[in-house]
């Protein structure tokens, strides 16, 4: 976990008591009202992902990885985003993040290629896994 955070981000910690001024200011500025909360912001400072509450290690890593994939998507680096989303499905298949990652992997591929079969293939993949997820429902309109 430390490696992922240390190598992929500028990590900033705000402690509610030790950094009381920053907590007050940034809490208001970024709408944070509860701890633990982890925000992933792109390099322009725009929030791309939010994790509120404690998560076990694998779930947390999957969520942080989602944030990195969303940051790649936001800068229109769709090939990198797709790779990152698929890596989440492969590495953390039993987390809640996996279904979301599978959905956005398909969207990223479509955005990179403009090929609608990327969406149809994603809808078919949801026929085999994560059928009960909201992401499976969202992908259902892509079935050819």
């Amino acid at each position: 976990m430390a490696d992922l955070i240390a190598t992929s981000f500028h990590p900033v910690r705000v402690h509610v008591r030790e950094d009381a001024e920053a907590w007050k200011r940034l809490g208001l500025e970024l709408g944070v009202q509860w701890t633990p909360t982890v925000l992933i912001l792109d390099s322009a400072g725009v929030e791309r992902h939010r994790i509120e509450g404690f998560l076990p290690a694998d779930d947390f890593l999957a969520q942080v990885s989602l944030g990195l994939a969303k940051a790649a998507f936001s800068r229109s680096d769709f090939a990198d985003a797709e790779q990152r989303y698929r890596a989440i499905v492969d590495a953390y298949p039993n987390t809640e993040s996996a279904a979301e990652a599978l959905y956005w992997a398909g969207v990223s591929k479509y955005k990179a290629t403009n090929d609608p079969t990327a969406l149809q293939d994603t809808a078919r993949a949801f026929g085999e896994r994560y059928q009960e997820s909201s992401w499976a429902k969202k992908s259902s309109v892509w079935r050819g």
Binding site: V12, R13, E18, V32, T35, S43, R48, G67, A71
Partner: protein, 36 residues
């Protein structure tokens, strides 16, 4: 052997934001009440 990294947490959001703008790396902000 893989290299293991320690997290070097900044406590200065404004400076980290400037660094992120310069090198295009995203920011991770950890709001916590846990004992340090």
């Amino acid at each position: 052997m893989p290299v293991s990294h320690e997290i070097s947490w900044s406590r200065n959001y404004d400076r980290a934001k400037q660094e992120a703008a310069a090198d295009k790396k995203p920011l991770l902000l950890d709001f916590t009440a846990a004992p340090m």
